[in-house]
Amino acid sequence: MKTIRLHEVAHARAGDKGEDTTISVFLYDDTFYDQIVEQIGAEQVRAHFTGIASGVVECFLLPQLAAVHYVIRGTRKGGVAAALELDAHGKSLGWHLLQMHVKL
């Protein structure tokens, strides 16, 4: 078993929704689905977003798409228009999630 970055086995897309960010993660090869999913649960993702998100993380499993969908609360106070961040939409944050380490 070795430690790799999530982007080596998955792709992702981030979306902005008011003050929150949604990120969906998709495994390139669904045979690793269960093994990866247990390492990127809501709590692990919340920890990875410390300093970026102030709220909780919700997690939805869509195994038929080899996907995990996250709603990450409190990433953009006031939403896109009022956000002080350079990336007001948070569209770059999918790539942040893909920096997570997983064991495979």
Partner: protein
């Protein structure tokens, strides 16, 4: 098997007009949807309308009509757009003007009115979702309900060439032609849910055809330069096939469809629109030909008894400044600049919690992390909220003054100030919203 073909000619207000022209030229479409209202765009449009009653429609609307109106008429493609923004009637007059200028006769336009619910919101004073406070406690500018298919149907039934709405839910722009053509019942939640899945896949234009996807590594997309706009071929049972402008660049694959299915979705089993509570959680994709993906498995449940309303709320100004450094010690010099400007703005009365500063190249997008390589060039950036423009301007001015007063070797100063109009949400009872459809015809002069 009979089908209807709907294409996306714009997925946001500034989307590529030449790609829309290619789509109509080669897409064999029945309907062209132009979506161009981000959440706060309607608030800005209301402000424009207050200044000039003939303004307040979407950005680039006139240019889009010049590029597409005659072409769509020739190809028998009907246009559906929310670019009416705060003023669909003024947008209809733009269409009439453009049609006359192009010597087009007999063109028929319908507007869908009633999304502006400011007077009802003032009366009912509901709570804002994000802040928990009553609307009346905020400095609000505008309130627009997300109307849906039901409000649009009379316009489709009238068989007009162009349908112009203000705020409607983005998926409804696509679902309305499906419901109208196939005669689906407005309580056929299963088909409405399936149609909403297809609509959601299409609503952001090229995001399902390789845009916002390509990474040059594992996710390879051919000819992103000429990325094509998406097309959905919809069948009576609510299933559909996603493709793109024939001969265009880009990619429609199971991967691009999966990514777009969940884009900006909260709970995938509960996607709430004015038309239906759609369930995306069992959707499946199958590639049936090159750049053609078959979509199945969507469903839906009964719609809610209220409309979501987007509020434009004044929140002062944001000032922003950038200054770049390169070469040896670039990071140290940028950090010196950061410390100086932060302290100067604090001294001027801006609170730390209303400020954010970063080193672009280091930590602006994803924050700090150990073990990253140091960049050769780095840009210090700071943004801060302020109640008035003078104080917001101060942010950029303090960055600019680093030219003479800050660390050595600065380059590329930029400064901006912008008004902040936050887009907040609330709800309103369906019965408090009165919509109607108006028809306009372009007569011979």
């Amino acid at each position: 098997m009979r089908s209807i073909r709907i294409g996306t000619g714009a997925g946001y207000s500034g989307d590529r007009i030449d790609a829309a022209v290619d789509l109509v030229e080669r897409g064999n479409l029945d309907y062209l949807v132009l979506e161009g209202l981000a959440e706060r765009t309607t608030a800005l449009a209301h402000l424009e309308k207050r200044e000039d009653p003939e303004k307040g429609y979407g950005q680039f609307f006139e240019a889009r009509m010049y590029a597409l109106l005659a072409l769509c008429k020739r190809k028998n493609v009907r246009i559906v757009t929310n670019l009416g923004a705060a003023n669909p009637q003024a947008a209809a007059r733009v269409v009439v003007r453009v049609a006359r200028d192009l010597d087009m006769n007999g063109l028929r336009v319908a507007t869908v009115l009633g999304a502006d619910v400011a007077s009802s919101i003032a009366k009912e004073d509901p709570h804002i979702w994000e802040t928990g406070e009553p609307v009346s406690h905020s400095d609000w500018i505008s309130a627009d309900a997300y109307l849906g298919v039901e409000e649009m149907l009379p316009a489709l039934a009238a068989g007009v060439d162009v349908i112009i709405t203000g705020r409607v839910a983005d998926p409804s722009l696509f679902l309305a032609p499906m419901v109208s053509e196939w005669g689906w019942s407005l309580t056929d939640w299963d088909r409405l849910g399936k149609g909403t899945v297809l609509a959601h896949l299409l609503e952001c234009g090229a995001q399902v055809t390789g845009g916002y996807f390509a990474d040059g590594q594992k996710k390879r997309v051919d000819d992103l330069l000429h990325v094509g706009m998406p097309i959905v071929e919809v069948f009576e049972n609510g299933e559909g096939i996603i493709s793109k402008t024939p001969g265009s660049g880009g990619l429609v694959s199971v991967q691009t469809c999966k990514e777009q299915l969940l884009y900006e979705v909260m709970d995938p089993s509960t996607y709430i629109t004015p038309d239906v509570v759609a369930d995306f959680s069992n959707v499946q994709f199958q590639e049936v030909a090159e750049n053609c993906v078959h979509v199945t498995g969507g469903s839906g449940n009964a719609r809610t008894d209220s409309f979501k309303v987007t509020l434009g709320v004044n929140q002062g100004f944001i000032g922003e400044g950038f200054i770049a450094y390169a070469g040896h010690g670039a990071i140290e010099r940028a950090q010196m600049a950061q410390a100086i400007v932060e302290q100067r703005l604090k001294d001027a009365g801006i609170h730390a919690q209303d400020m954010k500063s970063d080193l672009v190249g280091m930590n602006a997008l994803h924050g700090d992390a150990a073990g990253r390589p140091e960049p050769y060039e780095v840009m210090f950036r700071i943004a801060a909220r302020a109640a008035n423009q003078t104080m917001a301007d101060r942010v950029g001015e303090e960055v600019e003054s680093l030219w003479l007063n800050g660390p050595g070797g600065p380059g590329g100063v930029r400064k901006y100030t912008r008004p902040v109009i936050a887009a907040y949400s609330t709800t309103i009872r369906r019965s408090a919203v009165k919509s109607n459809v108006k028809l306009v015809e372009v007569d011979e002069r």
